[in-house]
């Protein structure tokens, strides 16, 4: 039997392990024609904010549901002069973030960073960074379920009619029933928002905390749902309103009597670690670290 040495990886493995230089793309994940097709779909999405544009989603080296839509968008828009930041749950070190980042950098030759200020493209799952995003940034969100109305209607033919006619009446009824039954609107993450006074979208699931930051933003947000083969967009300076009633204000997650055990913040999105005594910390790890080193 031949014993193969695994200590010196080559090819794709070497590139992914970081032992190849990032200057030149080591391998291809998506052919150039496909990237062009995705850019065309994205242009369509920007022109019709909130509209779910069908696209010929390709199979990626990551599984469907693991950010294949976000990855296709990032690969389609990024160039070697770009700098990418990738987060999962706000954390640059999350397993999925690490995997996607090394695919992007190794296949495009772009730079990587954990700092928002250095990034031009920020790909994310479930969060928007706490730091302010500006017109230099494009935010790419990984979307598991792009259809905001699926909870109230399963038939896709009916769903497409409802969007086409802006018929969101049943969505309003469901929010009303939720409020009456539970005392509060219990929708947690991925809160439905009306974009540009036209289409209701699913907000990936990012927490409600991040929703106000999509409204009249300086940056372009691109949403990619690889499995369901849809992209949609919120261009800069677009009105984004969470669906709620005049007398029921939209509520973000509350940080009552809590603060980050590392940086002391209570003005960031905090996540809980039940195993710790002082058990809250910032979900955005880069933001938290920067506060501590200032």
């Amino acid at each position: 039997m031949t014993v193969v040495s695994h200590r010196e990886p080559t090819g794709v493995i070497a590139a992914l392990s970081g032992s190849a230089l990032h200057d030149e793309p080591a391998f291809t994940v998506l052919d150039e024609e496909s990237k062009r097709e995705i850019r065309r779909a994205l242009l369509h999405a920007v022109c019709a904010p909130g509209y779910q544009v069908p696209f010929g989603s390709r199979e990626m080296p990551v599984a469907r549901g693991w950010g294949s839509g976000g990855l296709q968008i990032t690969l389609a828009i990024i160039g070697s002069s770009d700098t990418v930041k990738v987060i999962d749950q706000g954390d640059d070190e999350g397993v999925n973030a690490v995997n996607l980042r090394r695919l992007v950098t190794a296949s495009t030759g772009c730079e990587e960073t954990t700092e928002v200020s250095e990034a031009t493209v920020v790909q994310t799952r479930h969060r928007i960074p706490e730091d302010e995003l500006t017109s230099q940034h494009t935010l790419v969100l990984q979307v598991p379920v792009p259809e905001p109305l699926r909870g109230i209607e399963r038939d896709m033919r009916e769903l497409s009619r409802m969007h086409a006619e802006s018929d969101y009446s049943r969505m309003w009824v469901s929010l009303y029933e939720d409020k009456v039954r539970n005392g509060v609107i219990t929708q947690t993450t991925g809160y439905p928002c009306l974009v540009n006074e036209r289409y209701v979208i699913a907000t990936t699931p990012i927490p409600r905390w991040d929703i106000p930051r999509l409204h009249n933003a300086e940056f372009l947000s691109l949403f990619g749902a690889g499995r369901e083969k849809r992209v949609y967009a919120i261009p800069p300076h677009t009105v984004v309103e969470p669906l709620t009633f005049e007398d029921i204000p939209f509520e973000i997650e509350q940080n009552e009597n809590t603060h980050c055990r590392l940086c002391g913040s209570n003005s960031s999105f905090l996540v809980q670690s039940p195993s710790q005594d002082d058990n809250w910390s910032c979900s955005d790890t880069a933001w938290c670290r920067a506060r501590r080193t200032k």
């Binding site: 039997m1 031949t2 193969v4 493995i13 992914l16 392990s17 970081g18 994940v29 052919d31 024609e33 496909s34 097709e37 069908p54 010929g56 989603s57 390709r58 199979e59 990626m60 080296p61 599984a63 469907r64 549901g65 693991w66 749950q89 954390d91 070190e93 999350g94 397993v95 999925n96 995997n99 090394r102 799952r125 969060r127 598991p144 399963r154 038939d155 539970n182 005392g183 509060v184 947690t188 993450t189 991925g190 699931p205 990012i206 927490p207 409600r208 905390w209 499995r227 369901e228 083969k229 997650e253 509350q254 999105f269 996540v271 809980q272 670690s273 039940p274 195993s275 710790q276 979900s283």
Partner: protein, 361 residues
């Protein structure tokens, strides 16, 4: 952190990757050659190619070996490999009447036009685990075996026989639209038949069988049990247009399984004096899949959008979609879970406030 077990950044990932490869490649047994997979695990390779939607036996063998025999994983490797390649040419359509038969069974007639060829099939073998079988190469008399494995020429298909007997609803039309390309456009209901057929041809085998059986014993019941006309396995040519001469040239062969499912029409608005037929075709030798597909094809045609059957076929049978989404549940979800807990507390707060206002101190 609360997710220490699956966190730890790049080094942990590289180590996991390394462990995966090392334990696989440094097993004490002889390394597997790709030709062993294509030669000895033919049905595994066929099924993988079918679900990948890529005819490439050698690549499929490499994928299966790399994936340690996990078909879904092997299909993933092949499909994402396909994503790296540009599309250089499109094959010229080929009629399945050109099929060179390796196997043909016609359950609907004892003596159909043309032969019944049992061919290479385990259908008629006793399923007894042969624990004593010595791994010796059996002696093969080439004169004896050659005729039974050589492809047979084309024979009339049962659908045409029924048509000649005026027993078949004629659904042929001359418009010849381009087939819907599910790899370039997402298919959603309502979709053309070609979208449904190509979705099923690439579907996960078990998913199609389950969707069929769900309709037999489960709560759905959109379809009948059919009579099978043709169950075929055979070889077809791949032809492309030569870029310089413009003429058709054959660049290779591929194998398919093809099934005709004859449906006994009994609906009020149907021609009850005739039959209709559903078609199932997939890469390689995978009769189970082709039978389920043919049955679902005719069921979906008869359903005509009345139920959600078409949506089930188009949206829920792809192995990579379903497995990927299922497995994404392993990813961290602590941001969304935190938000869910926050709403639980908010609901509790509101109900406590209501209790307080109802019961004056």
């Amino acid at each position: 952190m609360g997710y220490a077990a699956a966190r730890g950044g790049l080094n942990a990932i590289i180590n996991a990757d390394h462990l995966l490869r090392t334990l696989r490649d440094c097993d004490h047994s002889e390394p597997l050659g790709a030709d062993q997979l294509t030669g000895r695990l033919r049905l595994l390779v066929d099924r993988t190619m079918g679900e990948a939607g890529l005819w490439a036996p050698e690549l499929a063998a490499l994928a299966i070996r790399q994936a340690e025999g996990d078909i879904t994983e092997a299909v993933h490797l092949l499909r994402s490999y396909k994503s790296t390649l540009p599309r250089l040419a499109t094959a010229i359509p080929v009629h399945s009447n050109e099929l060179s038969l390796l196997r043909r069974v016609v359950p609907a007639f004892r003596e159909p036009g043309g032969p019944q060829i049992l061919g290479r099939s385990s259908d008629y073998s006793a399923r007894m685990l042969n624990v004593h079988e010595k791994s010796v190469v059996p002696e093969m008399d080439p004169k004896e075996t050659a005729p039974s494995t050589a492809p047979r020429p084309q024979v009339t298909r049962l659908m045409d026989t029924l048509r000649d007997m005026d027993l078949l609803v004629d659904r042929r039309n001359d418009s010849d639209p381009e087939p819907f390309d599910i790899t370039r456009k997402p298919a959603r209901p309502p979709a053309p038949r070609s979208a449904r057929l190509s979705t099923m041809a690439r579907a996960e085998t078990g998913a199609l069988i389950n969707l069929w059986y769900r309709n037999i014993l489960g709560p759905d019941g959109y379809l009948h049990e059919v009579t099978l006309g043709e169950v075929r396995h055979g070889e077809l040519p791949i032809r492309v247009t030569h870029p310089h001469t413009g003429s058709a040239i054959k660049i290779g062969n591929f194998r398919i399984s093809e099934v005709e499912a004859i449906e006994d029409l009994n609906g009020i608005d149907e021609d009850r004096t005739k039959f209709d037929v559903g078609i199932g075709i997939c890469f390689g030798h995978n009769e189970r899949k082709a039978i389920a597909m043919a049955n679902l094809d005719i069921a979906c045609h008869r359903d005509n959008g009345k139920t959600s059957l078409e949506q089930s076929i188009l949206m829920t049978t792809d192995g990579l979609d379903s497995a990927g989404f299922l497995e994404h549940l392993k990813l961290p979800h602590y941001v969304t879970f935190r938000s869910m807990m926050e709403r639980k507390m908010a609901m509790r707060r509101v109900s406590e406030e209501q209790v307080e206002t109802k019961e004056p101190a």
